[in-house]
């Protein structure tokens, strides 16, 4: 077994272990920290497989932005964890369904890779400039649609925030 293979399996065990701990912790901050560790592990795996750009984006976006926001909200709200009934039956069903979809996709990918196709990795291993050019030449429409959706979400949040503030100041004026 080469050094790379040993590293691969070590990182894989690390990711699986931290994800397993993340979903079983009752304490929300601990769960968030372990999830961040698991994302960091995925980034290391990307780097090992020769995709530094994806590795950095994973750290910047998932660990550095999304998980920090999660942590921020948890710290602000400080939920005292209830012992049972975190998820309703419907949410559990949805989670199970999504899990099955993911497992199916993974099995299909592994089978395609075994048959000689290497499509998933080939797309990931690219220089930043090449990747950017490919993205903006081939998929510009999807990018525009996605950014438009994000813009609408942003405007929605702004509108909600403004509305609440105006109502509060209105009350103050009345009293």
């Amino acid at each position: 077994m080469s050094v790379y293979a040993i590293l691969f399996y070590a990182i894989a065990v690390f990711i699986l272990a931290s994800t397993a701990i993340a979903v079983t912790r009752r304490h929300l901050v601990h769960a968030a920290v372990f999830l961040a560790l698991s994302f960091f592990g995925s980034a290391m795996l990307f780097y090992l497989l020769g995709a530094p750009l994806l590795a950095m984006l994973e750290v910047i976006v998932y660990v550095g932005a999304i998980m920090v926001l999660f942590l921020f909200v948890i710290m602000m709200v400080e939920v005292k964890g209830k012992d049972s009934g975190v998820l309703t039956r419907g949410q559990q069903a949805a989670a199970a369904l999504l899990g099955i979809v993911y497992v199916a996709a993974a099995v299909m990918l592994v089978r395609a890779a075994a048959a000689g196709g290497n499509a998933a990795l080939q797309a990931a291993v690219a220089e930043p400039a090449v990747f950017g050019e490919y993205l903006f030449r081939q998929h510009w429409l999807s990018i525009e649609i996605a950014s438009f959706l994000l813009l609408i979400a942003l405007m929605g949040v702004l509108h909600l925030g403004r509305d609440i503030r105006r109502r509060q100041t209105g009350k103050e004026n009345a009293s």
Binding site: V33, L53, A55, G64, L71, M75, M76, E127
Partner: protein, 328 residues
């Protein structure tokens, strides 16, 4: 195999040299800051330990190392113990991609004066800078004290917000250099430093960098007169020292980044590369200390308003302008 082992030895030597230089400079930056700040406030500053107080950093280090390492009873023990390390480690790791000279030849081997030249170096800097938020946020939360928690939350909000203008201000630099690699960015400034063509980006970057390192006028996470010491209120001994070390290493890294992105990195006449980089780092650090001695602390709403209403739009306009000029 032999080449592999010599490569490893060269790498280890470089790591040791850079680490020792960073830590020593951090210790003496503290001395310089206390001395300069004292002069700005018409005081004398440290002058008891050694000539001009030059042994003060060493005395401080001994004091911090021998102090009792307190952990509050109701603190979240593991996270409380680990958080300071996150701050200083991420700050130190960022220096791995900063080039400090041309390749030199040692015993017939070409040795590049950089620890790791990867093609996404700029993104790596941002990745580690965003990981640093965890140290502040978790350190503040794990202390289980109201002051520390408020400091941690403020720190997280401030650092996430200012990462945006910090990143956006560098887009024109990447456009000009056509690369994420810091080596290529320095090489692209062969004829002129980018500060001449990107003064706006330079201003935005320096302001956001000061906010990112939580210094006055952006030191709300540790505002002494309202929060005790903010996110590190409950820390003592060397764990507090690690937060402190992280802050001063961060200052040097930001100085190095300002030098690499806008001042031509290690390039300059007469002096050798590493010395030029050192001079530029110290110059940026001294300006930061000067600003600390001059400006009062911002209010929280002013902090957010400057970020979202001034810096981000200015950075976006700067990107569009640069694009136009490059196309013409």
């Amino acid at each position: 195999m032999l080449a592999w082992i010599t490569g490893l030895i060269v790498l280890l030597v470089k790591l040791v040299v850079v680490l020792v230089a960073l830590l020593l400079t951090a210790a003496y930056l503290v001395w310089a800051e206390r001395k300069l700040l004292a002069r700005l406030q018409v005081r004398l500053g440290p002058n008891r330990a050694g000539k001009f107080g030059l042994l003060q950093p060493i005395a401080d280090m001994i004091k911090l190392l021998t102090k009792e390492d307190l952990v509050p009873e109701s603190a979240d023990r593991v996270i409380f113990l680990l958080a300071p390390a996150v701050v200083s480690v991420t700050a130190l790791l960022m220096f791995a991609v900063v080039p400090f000279g041309t390749d030199i030849t040692l015993f017939g081997r070409r040795v590049p004066l950089i620890i790791s030249d990867i093609n996404v170096a700029l993104l790596l800097v941002f990745a580690f800078s965003s990981l640093g938020v965890y140290g502040v946020a978790l350190g503040g939360w794990a202390s289980n004290s109201k002051f520390a928690l408020i400091g941690g939350i403020r720190g997280a909000a401030q650092m996430i917000s200012y990462e945006l203008p910090l990143g956006l201000s560098l887009v024109p630099v990447v456009m000009l250099a056509r690369s994420f690699s810091l080596v290529d960015i320095v090489n692209a400034q062969n004829s002129y430093p980018f500060i001449l063509v990107q003064p706006l980006a330079f201003a935005i970057f320096v302001i956001s960098a000061m906010a990112e390192s939580k210094r006055i006028p952006f030191d709300l996470p540790e505002a002494e007169n309202e929060l005790g010491a903010g996110f590190h209120t409950e820390y003592s001994g060397m764990r507090f020292g690690l937060f402190f070390l992280g802050e001063y290493v961060h200052m040097q890294v930001l100085g190095a980044l300002v030098a690499v992105f806008f001042l031509g990195g290690w390039r300059g006449p007469w002096l050798p590369g590493p010395l030029w980089l050192f001079v530029k780092i110290i110059a940026v650090a001294l300006v930061m200390i000067w600003i600390r001695g001059t400006l009062p602390r911002l209010r929280y709403d002013q902090l957010m308003a400057i970020c979202w209403k001034v810096l981000v739009p200015a950075a976006l306009i700067n990107i569009i302008l640069t694009g136009f000029v490059m196309l013409i």
